[in-house]
Structures are given as C-alpha cells and as structure tokens.
C-alpha cells in the first residue's frame, strides 16, 4: 500500500490535469488539483519550520563549531515571526522596519555579489581556446559594449563600422537571431525531455517522489 497509494494519486491527478488541459468542460479538475497543491504547500511551511528548529537546536545543544550562527538564525526566526504575528506587517510596524532596513539591504547585497562574480568568472573562463570559443568571445564583447552608452560612443569612433548601427547588430542579429536560435534549440530539446520524463512518471517507470528507484 505504501507504494500503490502514491502511484495511484500521481497517475489519477496527472491524467485529470492532462484531460482538463484539452477539455474546457473539465477545466475545473485542473483548478481543483492546483488549489489542493497550494493548500498542501502552505502546510509544508510547518515542516520547514520544524526542520529549522530541530537541526539548529540540535547543533546548539551539541555546541558544534559555528553554533553561534545557529543561535542568530533561531533568534531571527522567532523575533520576526513574533513581531509579524503580534504586531502586524503594515507600514510603521516593527516587522515593516525589519523588512525595510534589514531584509531589503541584505537581499540587495547578495544580489549585487553577482557583478563581482561575473568579473572573476569571466577572467578565469573566457579563453579563446578554439575557433568557436573565439567567435563567442567576439560576440560577447560586442553585446557587453553594445548594451552600454560607452560602447555606443566607442563604436562611433571606429572608421568604417560607425556607419552601421550597433543597436541593430546587437538587438536584431546577435540577440534576435543567433541568441534566439540557441535559446529555442535548448527549449525544444528540454521540452521533448520533459514530455518523456512526464510520461515515465505517469507510467510509474520513474518514481523520484517515492524515494528514487
């Protein structure tokens, strides 16, 4: 039964959703199942919270190296949760201040790391090792400089090329033509793979949701 029930639920819901996609009359089945998933997913947050408390609590009690971070995490969790529940989340509440003055700058900091990492990855990996890599490198230079005003200015200094539009080269040729073709190839290949894996899940050949196989 431990194997049959999940498989049954998977097959029935998958078939219901496939049928609903093609049949407007049975569209309600799709809505219903999606709503069920949403409800279950909300309850899953409790699972997450329990996991955080157990794992971090355990590390604090054992005083493993770096347990101070676990203390900070648990304090952050309970303080934010408590303030949100008891003080509300509207502007000028303590929760709002935490969101605006702690969470927002911290998130922005993490995102801005991307600029630094792009530079270090480019320095290390972008090498003209082959003919194809050289072509990619030239295209990357044109796009990088073509996407900023300084690049447009530098283009206007070039003797012959300045008569051709850099914007046209970047937007219509590199991005609109070559990039789109590559994106579509990956998208189509991935979509066929998706159909195949979905079919395998539907037939019960692949059951990752049941602990592999």
């Amino acid at each position: 039964m431990k194997r049959e029930i999940p498989l049954f639920v998977c097959v029935v819901s998958a078939l219901a959703m496939i049928i609903a996609y093609y049949s407007p009359k049975l569209d309600w089945m799709d809505d219903m199942l999606q709503k069920w998933f949403l409800i279950i997913a909300v309850f899953a947050f409790i699972l997450g919270a329990i996991s955080i408390i157990l794992v971090n609590g355990n590390r604090i009690s054992k005083q493993v190296p770096g347990w101070g971070y676990n203390v900070v995490l648990l304090i952050g969790l309970f303080v934010t949760l408590g303030l949100g529940i008891f003080g509300g989340i509207d502007p000028k509440t303590p929760f709002f201040y935490i969101f605006t003055y702690i969470f927002t700058p911290l998130s922005a900091t993490m995102f801005s790391l991307l600029a630094f990492f792009i530079a270090s990855a480019a320095f290390r990996a972008f090498k003209a090792k082959t003919w194809e890599a050289t072509l990619l490198l030239i295209a990357a230079f044109i796009v990088m400089l073509g996407r900023v005003p300084l690049g447009e200015l530098m283009w206007s200094w070039l003797p012959v090329l300045k008569h051709y539009s850099l914007n046209n080269l970047v937007e219509n040729w590199i991005m609109g033509c070559f990039n789109t073709a590559g994106q579509r190839a990956i998208l189509l290949g991935a979509s066929v793979g998706l159909i195949s894996i979905s079919l395998k899940i539907l037939l019960g050949i692949e059951r990752p949701y049941m602990g592999g196989e």
């Binding site: 998130s107 922005a108 530079a119 972008f126 090792k129 490198l137 400089l145 900023v148 690049g151």
Partner: protein
Amino acid sequence: MLEKLANLDRRIIFLFVGLAVLIPIIFPLGLPNAVSQPVQNIYDFVETIPEGSLVFISFDYGPSTKIECEPMALAVTKQLFRRNIKVVGWALWPEGASMARNVFDVTGKEYNKKYGVDYINLGYKAGGSITIKEIGEDIRSTFPQDVDNISIDKYSVMDGVKNYKNFKLGVSVSAGVPGLREYIVVANSIFGVPIAGGCTAVSAPEMYPYLNSKQMVGLMGGLKGAAEYETLMNYVGDASKGMDAQSIAHLLIVLFVIMSNIIFFMQKKK
C-alpha cells in the same frame, strides 16, 4: 610572473569592479542612451491606449532585485499616469506588494493621482500561474480586497472590472518565476491580453524567442532597458545614473578578458 597574473587573486578583481562602479556614481559621465526597438515598442503601445483605460502591472520582484527592476516599474507607471490611464497593481511575489507601494507612492504624488480612483494596489497572491489563470476568470474572487484588506468594491477604479478583457495591456516587471514568462504563457496565450515586460539583464536573453514570435509587445532588459525608458520619458532617473557605472564595469570586464587571453597565449607560446 605570468603564472601569478594567470592566477590573479579574485579579491583584486573585486576591488577593481568595486571602484569601476563607485567612481562613476560619484563623478557621473552623463553618457547619452540610445533607445532599442523592444523598449520603443512598449512606449509606442502605451501611447496608443485611450485615456481612462485600464492597464495592470504585476510587481514580480523583491528587495534583492529592486535596484534593477524598480526603475522600469517607475518609468512605465509614470507614462501611464501622464496619459491618464488607470493602473491596477498586484504581485505574485510576497515582497512585490511593498514594491508596488513604493512605486505608487512616488508616481501617485508626482502626477497627483488618487488611490482607489486612478490606481489601486491589490497586494500579493500566492499561486503563480494558477493565480494568473484565476484573474482571467474572475479578478474579484482572486483579489476580493486590496493590500490594506479593504473590499475592492469600495474603489471606483475597480468598477465593472471582471477579468483580463477589461485591460488594454498587462505589464510584468519580473526578476524570476513566477513572472513575465508565466504572463506570456497564460495571460497572453490563453486570454489574449497584450503583455509587455521588464526583467533582469540575466534573464533577458531567455525572453527573445517570445519577442521574436510577437507574443510580447516589448521588453525592457535590465538597467539598460529602464534607462532607455527614462530617456523616452525625458527624465534622468536611477537607471540612467546607473548606466555610467555599468558602462565602466562592462569595459573593465572586457579588459580583464583581453588580459587573461593575452596571458593564456603567452603561456601557450612558452
């Protein structure tokens, strides 16, 4: 020496990038921005929408990507308000509701627009694609209340609004999923509402197939897209100011790549 340069400490690279971003912010260069066609298309489309019509904006980004996405949302909202078009905002990301609040506070004041009459913030709704589909069936059951938990029936901007048919255009400013792609797949493909959008520069290449197949009106890609929109709107906002820093940073990365290739070829020769 060559070996040392080839394995340059990443912290030195980080230092240069930091300076390349910081110096142009302190001493702006004021470089002009050329407008690309995908951005021009959004601007032109908005110009054709009659006054008093409704447009929705979905704020699908959070604080982390605010710096890149907010200038796009601000520029589009300003154009909509300038043309006296009513705006309904909502969010598919939890933090999106407060992002919408920021944008409406700034633009509403600037164009003297009244909350509930000229614009409304419906807040956040979980569900991604499911929510987008639900709005197409009945927006009132999806968002019975606005962001402050007040019934939407009390606001004149929502009078007679039922689903996507009431909107002349949908704009999704997104930093990931759910976002622009989901609006194209569901709101445009199933319900036929024209969709325009803005996304982070990292995700922009992924959107070009949809742009090419005309499933979207236009696209603002990253800070550059926002800066172009600001140029069209004739003002210098955060995006335009940021373009100087981005220009120098891009140039620096190109120089780093050239340097690493010179080292690579010299090592190969040796």
